[in-house]
Symmetry: C2
Subunit: 476 residues, 2 copies
Amino acid sequence: MQRLSGTDALFLTMETPEWHQHIAGLTVLDPSTSEDFSFEKAVAHLESRLPLAPKFKWKLKETPLNLDRAVWIEDTNFDLARHIRRAGVPQPGGKVETAELLSQIMTRQLDRRYPLWEFWYLDGLANGRLATVVKFHHCLLDGMAGASLATVLTDLEPDPPPREIPKAKTSAGREPSSAELLARSVLPNMRTPMRIARYTAEAGRRGLALLEFNRTAEDTAPLTGVPTTRWNAEISARRTNAFTSISLEDVKKIRRKYDVKVNDVVLAICSGALREYLLSHDELPEEPLVAGVPVSTRSADDNELNNQIANMNVSLATDEPDPKARLKAIAKSSKASKAMTNAIRAHQIQSIGETAPPLMLNFAIRALARTGALRAMPTVMNTVVSNVPGPPFPLYFAGALTTGMFPGSVITETMGLNITVLSYIDRIDFGLSADPELVPDLWDIADGIPKSLKALMKAGKLGKPTKVEDPFGEPM
Amino acid sequence: MQRLSGTDALFLTMETPEWHQHIAGLTVLDPSTSEDFSFEKAVAHLESRLPLAPKFKWKLKETPLNLDRAVWIEDTNFDLARHIRRAGVPQPGGKVETAELLSQIMTRQLDRRYPLWEFWYLDGLANGRLATVVKFHHCLLDGMAGASLATVLTDLEPDPPPREIPKAKTSAGREPSSAELLARSVLPNMRTPMRIARYTAEAGRRGLALLEFNRTAEDTAPLTGVPTTRWNAEISARRTNAFTSISLEDVKKIRRKYDVKVNDVVLAICSGALREYLLSHDELPEEPLVAGVPVSTRSADDNELNNQIANMNVSLATDEPDPKARLKAIAKSSKASKAMTNAIRAHQIQSIGETAPPLMLNFAIRALARTGALRAMPTVMNTVVSNVPGPPFPLYFAGALTTGMFPGSVITETMGLNITVLSYIDRIDFGLSADPELVPDLWDIADGIPKSLKALMKAGKLGKPTKVEDPFGEPM
């Protein structure tokens, strides 16, 4: 038995049918690198790696009336079959159909009576490909410092030597492999949009020093007076996902040309797509949109999670029609925000979950949710753009080559759109998550991303965008 | 606004995460009879028929603290997209994979914030086939007297003339088509296992006159002292499904040979499969298993639902090793039960939902469930075997030929196995529903059914079973 940390307990308490607290990683696989890849092999692989992530065999025990934080207990009836799901991607098995299935998976809450994760095996993708989805509750990952299931599932070669499985029930003292070290730096970041949105919301409610800083600093994005879009509204229980991919080299070309950061180019590409989308609906706000951008602040010897991620609020300069001018404005705002972020660390905000009495917190949050007070909060950001640097070399799952990795991310009240960006080998993959009742045409935004890249390259006289292979196996 | 009937409200109140109150019909389709069958056409067809089932646009409004029965209100934000789901059947797309996907669909509760149904479109079945699943809450169908969505979705020809859509919000005054009349007589029966199990449980709790009758009547199956099997236990939230098909003509041959009823032959075939299954686990009880068999008692001019279905408890004579002797014992028990059923109608039992104050009922049922009292109830039947006569001619959905229809049925506490049998053209299709934590190897029972038929035919010197086409499109 182990009591949940205050933050983890907060994630549980705040979960409502509309406001899910689970996240997922979808991995597209090409099984042709393995002679005997199959559903059974995938499950066996999963099972063999499970001891490396002991928390995946823990389940919740919530205390009566929520008088205290819930505790983790070992699931003595643990049955892997309860966590394995299988489905096919509808024909023709492209990224649209894969995203549709991921949306269905994301729309459903996890069953709190069992360890809080599911593993989905999806076949029927184009070109013989398939996908796996690991879906897990935010409170399961939080505080795990990288020992997540997703982390331990991949290898750097198709047929790696067997991993040493530790005898201990926790993996605290284990020497991590190089693949794990890599994965630790990449995968835990996938959960940041949620946390950041939460921190920022918290900041908004508590009227922190952040506001004061913001009034006096120049060029930083506003924390009040952020415009509202169609997706900055009350969210429903449903989720929709869309994906797109562009060439990493194209982004680097733009970065070099304008002497900005890769992240600024990513933001400018997203900004162009969002601007065109809102223009086409005749809904572009006069004030520029503001993105929450998670940044890592973790030092090398720091393995605590509560101060490794901070948030920057960056203006997306959507009021600027010229792509070059927009990129420059974003880079300027980003630089100013970075300075602010260094001054005020996010961990000052998080402590509410650790210090407030759980009963009071439960009542307060439920009351806020019921009275709609959370919905009445001012918009503090329009979207999250989370840019996660991924491995520049191939990863394998049970022998099958990973051709792409896409998140099912968390959206929150008044922030019904999330863009998470992951680089992989020579490509940048975009995963968009939204509420379909607010953004029924999410693919229009996704499809606007390569167009936005094209416009930016054209403005910089950098030629045409490089054609990239589709990770879902669809012909170009 | 319309208040739920007491029975419908009871189905809502009794629903727990383990004890689902939804049912589903899976229809396998061969789209080659339609030139332009597609997902979009299927959805358009569904939409065009929706006005014939007005309750599918109603949603629940539960009263605070459940002080009174919930009411139905029109969902003024009705959005068809919320109810449409799409997935592929995993490869190779046979009946095993289709059943696996149906199990996933059945395991999830419906979202009470929207009209209580889902329509699933599943492609990727063998031989170019696909399937649809209509999943709906029991309380949605109850009292609808046949105006269910499933009822209005099929036609007798691939390209029927457009149906007349009534202007009125309810279909009470509408003239039903011949297809509807047919479907009304067939499809509503698919929900009977649940209701019957409930009635019987109710009877068990209340110690009705049934017990008295049973003590004095001869040859009837016992209502107390029913043996317990591995699946007569506490059920989990999970569901598993399995299917099999045999030739209708083979069953009729046996019926003629022994001068019994078709239903007796079906029971004997199930009995043989269950006996072999339990023997192989070395768990065959000494006492014969008892099946609950729903029978229709509705007269032609009677359109009330509350007395149209009754239950017979029939001995499955699983203590009898000889197939012929087993069939004869079942026929005898069945005849005696029929007489008893005619004497005591099920509607005497149902009235509790109509008369008890809702608040008291809520508390009482929740208390029973929480304390495990429901689980401590004696086993009143081992399984339900529901035999539904289906159409002897083809049905079409949006132009696509229906090649098979299989239920996802309800299982209940201490009755974790349901066998629903539907005849269609020249075939009898078996749909088995169970809790995988109690019956992880449900396919062994399903596969035992054709073997049981074979043994019965051999014992009667009736030759070998006829080969039947697989409705899922798999090669023989």
